[in-house]
């Protein structure tokens, strides 16, 4: 019983990390149609920013989180203004351009911060584990779970219940028509891209204490994030949540029953089969494009 509960929690935790990493991508891809291959590098930038703030300025972890969000959001905003906005009608070129940006960011970090692995401290209060229903649960993972839920709510609120969100939805549905009604669509896109990047940065900051911080850490994350978005269905927040849960749970379960290598392969196989029969993912949005 303990093991089943422990395993359930592990699945939940893996799912929450997946969701955390995929959320920013889902927003950018879902509303702007931009396939941002530099997403993993924004996650990496977030992790490095945390390391910098912590080691050079001695800031507490929670303060780092807030700052990192804005730092990486700014980086995202610069990328959107500088490159991506010229490519909205050339989706294939966006893929290439963002991939290139990713490589540049990776090498820039390697040159400036060094190639060695960096170390981000877990906040003291969250370092241990707590007993819940008879199983030891790492407090930090619980913390990630809570933050992810909070960010999800925030994003949902932002998109559904604010003026900005309304404009974003309008632009997503039909950019030309929205512009005709006086919505500054390029500003909406810049801010959306910045928000998505900021979320990625936050994800990087949050996973840094339990994983390693290295210039190429983003590569694995971007693959996972795309898998989540593709399975969930583009443009569906609910789909992103559901698919993170499903992928996290099945990865954890299979890894426990078999091993991590096989689990990864089987999950990929399942995704391939799913895409074959439901090419638009589990939750298809009804937006006309």
């Amino acid at each position: 019983m303990d093991i089943v509960l422990g395993q359930l929690f592990t699945g939940l935790s893996i799912g929450s990390i997946l969701l955390l990493v995929a959320l920013g991508l889902a927003i950018i891809y879902g509303s702007m149609g931009v396939i941002n291959l530099a997403h993993g590098e924004f996650v990496m930038l977030g992790a490095y920013s945390t390391w910098l703030l912590q080691s050079a300025f001695g800031l507490p972890f929670l303060a780092c989180l807030v700052l990192v969000f804005f730092m990486v959001a700014f980086a995202g905003w610069v990328v959107e203004r500088g490159v991506v906005r010229f490519l909205y009608y050339r989706p294939l070129d966006t893929i290439l351009a963002t991939w290139g940006i990713g490589i540049i960011l990776q090498q820039a970090v390697r040159l400036s911060a060094g190639a060695e692995l960096r170390y981000v401290q877990t906040p003291e209060a969250l370092a241990g584990s707590i007993d819940l229903l008879g199983i030891a649960i790492p407090s930090y993972r619980l913390f990630i779970l809570a933050v992810t839920a909070g960010l999800l709510l925030l994003t949902w609120f932002l998109v559904q219940h604010t003026e900005f969100g309304m404009k974003l939805r309008a632009v997503t549905q039909n950019r030309e028509m929205a512009s005709c009604y006086g919505i500054n669509s390029s500003r909406v896109f810049s801010l959306t891209f910045a928000f998505g990047s900021g979320l990625a940065g936050l994800a990087g900051a949050l996973v840094a204490p339990i994983k390693s911080v290295a210039p190429d850490m983003g590569t694995n994350f971007v693959v996972d994030a795309f898998m989540v978005v593709v399975v969930g269905g583009v443009g569906s927040l609910l789909g992103t949540v559901a698919s993170s849960g499903i992928l996290g749970g099945s990865t954890a379960g299979l890894a426990f029953l078999l091993n991590d290598t096989l689990a990864k392969a089987l999950v990929f196989l399942a995704v391939v089969v799913l895409i074959r029969f439901r090419p638009r993912g589990l939750f298809v949005d009804r937006v006309r494009r």
Partner: protein
Amino acid sequence: MTITRRSFIKSTAIAGAAGAVGFPHIWIKDSGLAWAAGNEIKVGVLFSLTGTTAVVEKSLHNATLMAIDEINKAGGINGMKITPVVEDPASDPATFADKANKLVLNDRCVSVFGSYTSASRKAVLPVFEKRKNLYWYPTLYEGRECSKDVMYTGAVPNQQQKDFIPWLVKNHGKKFYLIGSNYIYPKEENNVCKILLQQLGGEVVGEEYVPLGHSEFGSVLNKFRETKPDVIFSTVVGDSVIALHKQYKAAGFTPDKMPMASLTTSEVEIAAMGGEYAAGHYTSAPYFMSHQSPENQKFVENYQKRYGKDAVTHFVSEPAYFQIYLFRQAVEKLGKGDITPINIRDAAGGLEIMAPQGRVKVDPDNLHCYLWPKIAQAQADGQFKVIEQSAEWVKPEPYWAYPGQSCTKDGLKGA
């Protein structure tokens, strides 16, 4: 005359043949051109400075260059300077082979020092065997190789495990969980571990391999919880080591009840995870930075003077350093005209030098080294504390787990 493709090919072929007759030394290997030309001996330095394994390889590169500088400052080898030719193979095995070819053919290096991963060593092996050149490989590795054109200065499984496993069984218990990264090295090491455990009446309660770069150990940790091993025997490498240690601690495990015993966790990984996550776990290797010896004191001091006070030395950078001194001693025995890769190899067989880890010796049969295995426990300050040191140097047996097979002067026997 119009040039058709056929006539062009023909005339080039004739020109080529004429060239071959006219300038024989271009075509006939080793004739006329001495390996040690003028007052310098060229050697290749082939460690990745970019790419995924650059972090560790940079430290090997640094240790190599430092040793070369030290030797040159002390007068070189019989008055000749060692000139390093540096190439960056970018963590890519195919590039390793290309660069090795360049170092051997274009630069006419008499030896090349390089490689960290087994994949890159396997990639350059054909180059050195075909060109009869000599490769010096400093990494501890899985054994089961018997090349006559490679000098192996790192440990093989029998050297790391023969004392370690009995010690773990005696002090912590007989139930082992084997966890490694998914490639050849962990599998071969685990083979050796299983044989040793069987002899000692131990038990393997789990054996598992995670993908390279894996960073999510939740399920693995649950398996530890379920199977309750006495020892976790880890051959996980790279970034994964850090994730494993951090998540292990966060899950509430403690090393006094269920220590991780590793062959791959060094001072480098501990610096990247923070000492408190490593404290209490064990590693077995021939060298630790904290080892007390005059040679090591000098090595660490010079290294930190050169590369900064935070720079760490570890069980791969130490062989990268001392193998240059082996090279010097071997070349010293040769006359200037006799310096060839093959002669250096033959002169190196049986050589002994004082390395930072202790006195090491090259086994003349299998070209691996006699080393001094140590068992050490990681401390919160990021260093290891050596708990046990082997009473004598341990002979390298690259085919230890394969009875009937052995690496001899004439190559592999009994395969």
